[in-house]
Symmetry: C2
DNA sequence: CAAGCACTTTACGTTAACGTAAAGCTCGTC
DNA sequence: GACGAGCTTTACGTTAACGTAAAGTGCTTG
């Protein structure tokens, strides 16, 4: 599967639009503050599929976006399996059959419901944090007054 | 939010002060759709501290609320350690010294920042889900039209 | 040409958050 | 008094999501 020698003098010009930039694994890692190991792991889990140049992974804009979405999903508490579910079906969409598409819609509705519940959870937790914050400040104030 | 069921038939006299009720581990488990094992685990991790009656655990209103908050935190992706951090400091508040209180405020600000980021994440992910949903429906529609 | 990076694969290790099984008490009931 | 339901402890097992170490490849720079 080793790609034969790449075209010799392709780079060296700066006029490539952002869209067509490509990244090394280290660049992406620094960009998103994760380790290369994490990125390789996501590939192994089917969330990324970078090109290879010889042995090295080459990430393009699409991959960068995928990684961004993946990390966002993670911050919201989705598992990699859940994220993959959406991402892969999204890719299979153009030529997907009706049953697959309906399944995708199902999944999307599910995720959305999840998000709505999270919004409510955030609202409630905010109130509680406010409350605790308030009490703590009051105790602090009273400490400052005596003595 | 588990709104208590509306007062049934008893006209005026029946007060059910939820305050003084106590629960078994199984009741709580069914109530929140978790296993008893989970509840015992949270106790072991210092998030709950139910009374004992003989050998059996007795949970009171305070414990129920704690469990509710813990599970909410979990849904938002907080680790048990993070949740404990807030919960324990909250308990230590009344007699807490200034340094501890300031630390608590710090933690609270941190959690709040986290929530704000999650709100933004949710907003973005909603848009993306909408987008995918829209495309999927279009493909479906086109499938229905041909043939 | 040696040294130093940045990348690679392989593979075992680790942590959080439980699951699950075994073995035993206690209480009401048939 | 045997039984099942529900509780208990102890302890080993499991899964997800990486961490970490070892050993090798390829470029470029002093």
């Amino acid at each position: 599967m080793t790609q034969p020698t790449a075209p010799a003098n392709e780079a060296s010009q700066e006029e490539l639009p952002r869209q067509h930039r490509h990244y090394t694994i280290g660049e992406l890692a620094r960009m998103f503050e994760v380790t290369p190991r994490t990125i390789r792991f996501y590939e192994q889990e089917g969330l990324l599929a970078p090109r290879r140049e010889g042995q090295k992974r080459i990430y393009r804009e699409k991959d960068r976006v995928r990684l961004k979405l993946t990390l966002r999903g993670k911050r919201l508490g989705f598992s990699l399996a859940e994220i993959r579910e959406v991402v892969m079906m999204y890719d299979a969409m153009p030529d997907g059959n009706a049953r697959q598409l309906l399944r995708l819609l199902e999944i999307l509705a599910d995720k959305r419901a999840n998000l709505e519940r999270q919004l409510e959870d955030i609202r409630l937790m905010r109130m509680e944090l406010d409350d605790v914050d308030h009490r703590a400040r009051e105790v602090l104030r009273s400490l400052g007054q005596e003595d």
